[in-house]
């Protein structure tokens, strides 16, 4: 009986099942039935849209990537389907939307016990914990273990947000805000020791680059539409060659326009998921706020707020071609970076403040993060592809393998996959380590902002005041 129901739900697919969950959540959080229904349907529609665009991406880029293997032996066969697809896979998985109540519960308990100072109201970004949860659920073949992993991930993200908040406050000038963001926050681990190392490296100590000049020269790399078209034509040329001018030019130009379409359309589809989550997000915020009135805490927001800083944009622009080069040059890498070339700002957003806006340092750290990340992503390609097919995303030709940089290349993803392989024991060890870290941050974060007399490298950072 249970099996019949499970198989029925699996066959329905996330695009159908998720709206039911969202509708129920929204009602529970006392949103009107009409709003709840609209939100629920929008999430379903967003799912359908993402599926269509991933199909287009795989169908277009897959054969070209295969052709590149044959022509050059560049074996980049796992297509980067990007954060939009990853978020959808996360919320559509068996852990999925349950990550939201689980994450909120963990947050409330940690606030109440003083283990964190962050109230994470950025429910959309609970997809990060749903994602690691989904991977662990697949590895362990247990939804409970997946949810447990998501809960541990929540503890980690909150601790990282608390830890990094003083640096962010000083650099961006945000008061009372932290970034419990699954993509950006873990790289703080990398940036803090690297910065200490750079400070002791004679040639690097004072090396600077001008963010505005970089933006003027490389700004076009930040435009998804153009990046998609150019990459499409480039990959097409490499893959299909030009022996048959008529046939090859058709293939190449079509790849260009279709990849431009993917770059523009995929985020638009995610916007629907986002809109669908708004009623839940508002309801949950009210629910939590009313239980912690007048408490002094950081409001946890999306690090999207930080990615507009000139130094973040400049660093990310430089990292676009570097990421492609790394993918080709690093032996053993199988990931063909694509959609997440537009998401690099999130990888560097919380490192840049630690480097006080120094672009040279930020780019070096970015190379370390992405270079290592490509290996993490390569190692989880099978798992990621399985997670994608589990939510009924159709992979063209069934042969296409997919992954993403955000969060497929994330060290925390690697950590959870590793722990998940140790099943409950592995997760128990991870929980102990994460709690110890959170406890350390609690003592550490009570101290004032880190001592530092240097002015931020771009002290004139423009805040968007009217």
């Amino acid at each position: 009986m249970v099996e019949t129901i499970t198989s029925y739900i699996n066959d329905l697919g996330a695009a159908v099942v998720l709206p039911f969950f969202i509708f129920a959540f929204a009602l529970l959080l006392r949103q009107g039935a009409g709003d709840a229904l609209r939100a629920a349907l929008k999430i379903g529609v967003g799912f359908v849209g993402i599926n269509l665009v991933i199909g287009l991406l795989g169908g277009q880029l897959g054969p070209a990537a295969q052709a590149m293997v044959e022509n050059f032996g560049v074996e980049l066969t796992a297509i980067d389907v990007g954060w939009p697809s990853t978020a959808a896979i996360a919320f559509g998985s068996q852990v999925g939307a349950f990550a939201i109540p689980v994450g909120l519960l963990v947050n409330v308990v940690m606030l109440a016990t003083g283990f964190t100072k962050t109230l994470d109201i950025d429910l959309w970004n609970y997809w990060h914990i749903a994602f690691t949860g989904a991977l662990v659920a697949i590895i362990t073949d247990s939804t409970a273990a997946g949810l447990f992993a998501a809960a541990i991930h929540m503890v980690l993200v909150l601790a990282l947000a608390d830890w990094s908040a003083p640096w962010l406050a000083r650099y961006y000038g945000f008061e009372g805000i932290s970034f419990p963001h699954g993509t950006s926050a873990p790289y703080v681990f990398l940036a803090i020791p690297l910065n200490a190392l750079f400070d002791r490296t004679p040639g690097l100590r004072n090396w600077q680059a001008d963010p505005d000049a970089i933006q003027r020269r490389f700004g076009v790399l930040g435009e998804s539409l153009i990046l998609g078209a150019v990459l499409g034509i480039l990959i097409g040329l490499l893959g299909y060659g030009f022996d048959d001018p008529r046939g090859d030019s058709i293939l190449i130009l079509q790849l260009g326009i279709n990849l431009a379409a993917v770059m523009l359309l995929l985020p638009r589809m995610v916007q629907l998921l986002m809109e669908g989550l708004i009623p839940i997000s508002e309801g949950a915020q009210e629910f939590v706020r009313s239980r912690f009135p007048g408490r002094d805490f950081y409001i946890g927001l999306d690090s999207a707020i930080a990615v507009g800083a000139p130094a973040v944009i400049a660093t990310s622009l430089l990292l676009v071609p570097i990421t492609l080069l790394l993918a080709v040059l690093l032996p053993g890498n199988r990931v063909l970076p694509f959609v997440d070339l537009a998401t690099i700002p999130f990888i560097v957003a919380m490192m840049v403040p630690i480097f006080r806006g120094n672009i040279i340092r930020s780019v070096i750290a970015g190379i370390v993060a992405i270079g290592g990340g490509l290996y993490i992503a390569t190692s989880i390609v099978g798992l990621f592809t399985r997670a994608a097919t589990d939510v009924n995303f159709e992979m063209p030709q069934n042969a296409t393998r997919v992954v993403s940089l955000v969060d497929g290349a994330n060290p925390v993803t690697g950590l959870f996959v590793l722990s998940g392989q140790g099943s409950w024991v592995g997760l128990g060890v991870l929980l102990a380590a994460v709690l110890a870290f959170a406890w350390w941050v609690r003592g550490h974060a009570a101290r004032p902002a880190p001592e530092d007399t240097d002015e931020p490298a771009d002290a004139q950072t423009r805040t968007s005041g009217a």
């Binding site: 933006q215 999306d302 930080a306 800083a309 990310s316």
Partner: protein
Amino acid sequence: MKRILIVCGTGIATSTVIADKVRKRLAERGLDVKIDQTKVSELHRGAKGYDVIVATTDVPQSIDIPVVKGMPFLTGVGVDKALDDVERHLAD
């Protein structure tokens, strides 16, 4: 119709939340506006045709359109003042 551009890091995530709030709250004030969203890295080309920008991030210095901070719409602190600012720039 007056046009508002909402800017965040992706043009998708936080800007969608803000767009929803700005649209609803301005409608309550009897204002009908056209709202678009974009990501900050697309802004280096400028933002022609918009009357006001609501941004959660820094915007390039070259932008000469009035900018209102989007943070209040996310934290819920100071929303009315932010809306007053938006309305004032729309009237200019």
